[in-house]
């Protein structure tokens, strides 16, 4: 498979979160004794990010009459952008579910900590990818 900039752009957040998972497996970090506060804060951050990204979708639609948007739409670029946005929102929701699940199950296990690390890293990196592109898009309008 040829390594293209599009392939790198599609994969780097997942590669980054896989590295975080590998680091978590290697060094086996543990939560502080009372993990409830950490999980609550994590869930709040995930909610804010999911909310922001949902609002970003509306922001993109608000520029739908601009020439730049129509050009990018006709060339299929907006579809890729929406795919990135959707992935970031789903990753945020998944991290939110993982955080809430931590209140009901034993959270200070290696498996749960690894799950928390990989979903949290994926959410943050996917968020960074889409916000970078959105800011660049807005710069053209």
């Amino acid at each position: 498979m040829k390594i293209t900039s599009l392939l790198i752009e599609r994969c780097w957040p997942f590669a980054g979160s896989a590295l975080c998972l590998a680091a978590s497996v290697k060094w086996s970090p543990t939560f502080p004794p009372d993990a409830g506060d950490l999980l609550a804060t994590s869930a709040t951050v995930a909610s804010v990010i999911v909310g922001f990204l949902t609002a970003a979708a509306a922001l993109i639609l608000s520029i739908s009459s601009s020439r730049v948007y129509r050009h990018l739409k006709s060339q299929g670029v907006i579809d890729v952008l929406f795919e990135y946005l959707k992935t970031a929102i789903y990753a945020g929701i998944l991290f939110l579910i993982v955080c809430i699940a931590g209140f009901f199950f034993e959270s200070n296990t290696t498996l749960y900590v690894d799950l928390w690390v990989v979903t949290g890293a994926a959410m943050m990196l996917l968020f960074l990818r889409i916000t970078g592109l959105l800011l660049r898009l807005i710069g053209h309008v």
Partner: protein
């Protein structure tokens, strides 16, 4: 109908005729690749020497209407999922890659057809094969360019697509595309390369010819291209590459629906190709 002279270069083992046969074996709805609005509508692969193809795309924006000398213009009703379509014919010599391409202002053009063919090749698993298509210059333009001993200036204007479907299919990232100029910003770039003001100074001839070759490949993206220099006798020469692209005007009678019928267009294309090849020169 305007017909352009085009050279097709095969890069890799795949022959264009075989690729067109592979595309034609697919149902019509499956002949659009990577969301492209272009498709191969019909190809005739049976002749010994030539392959004929018709590429079509849906016409976007304002469409035509119906009128007469006694009636005002009215809309032409279209059914659900129907569009006005535009077609562009292509015929090429299988051995040499010399081709005649119909020019249709609203239909698929040279760059779009080249992109379509290359995207189709990749999508059908021919990663190692591609095709380059470039417009050919008139024979005397080649001679005049070659006779320029001193290249003083090359000046061209080319439209910058910024973000396009072909870029995505070729693996350009969204970030890379958004860094390029987009509509609303810069749409064309002007480049002027000049030698120094000394009488005998010249641009590098290989460099100039490489740019000329690239401009031929860029097809209708080139808005202006002029080479200035002095010939071996010291006379000043100005060669406008847009005017010097080899083309011919074919006189066709519109058929049903005031359209040029496919068989008529293909015959005109074949006649133009045969005439250019009979003339000799670089296109023969």
């Amino acid at each position: 109908m305007k017909i352009l002279a085009v050279q097709i270069q095969q890069q890799g083992d795949l022959r264009l005729t075989d690729l067109l046969a592979e595309i034609q074996a697919l149902p019509l709805a499956a002949r659009r690749f990577a969301g492209s609005d272009l498709r191969l509508d019909e190809a005739n692969l049976e002749g010994d020497l030539h392959t004929y193809a018709d590429f079509v795309k849906a016409r976007s924006g304002h469409g035509p209407g119906r009128m007469s000398s006694h009636a005002p213009l009215t809309e032409i009703d279209l059914g659900e999922g129907e569009f006005f379509g535009e077609d562009t014919g292509l015929i090429f010599d299988r051995l040499t890659g010399k081709a005649a391409l119909q020019f249709n202002q609203f239909g698929p053009r040279l760059r779009a057809i080249e992109d379509y063919i290359n995207i189709a090749a990749r999508n059908l698993g021919h990663d190692q094969s591609s095709f380059a298509m470039g417009q050919c210059l008139k024979p005397d333009a080649y001679a005049r360019l070659a006779q320029l001993g001193i290249y003083k200036e090359i000046d061209y204007k080319i439209s910058v697509p910024g973000a396009d479907r072909a870029g995505l299919a070729a693996g350009r990232s969204v970030g890379e595309m958004l860094r390029a100029p987009l509509p609303g910003g810069v749409e064309t770039i002007n480049v002027r390369l000049s030698a120094s003001t000394k009488r005998d100074s010249s641009l590098n001839p290989e460099g100039v010819m490489a740019i000329v070759n690239d401009l031929q490949r860029a097809g209708d993206a080139v808005k202006r291209a002029v080479v200035k220099g002095r010939d071996v006798n010291g006379r000043k020469e100005r060669i406008d590459l847009i005017e010097e692209f080899l083309s011919v005007e074919a006189d066709l009678r519109p058929a049903r629906g005031h359209r040029y019928a496919r068989p008529d267009r293909w015959i005109s294309l074949r006649n133009a190709l045969n005439a250019w090849q009979a003339e000799g020169g670089p296109f023969a």
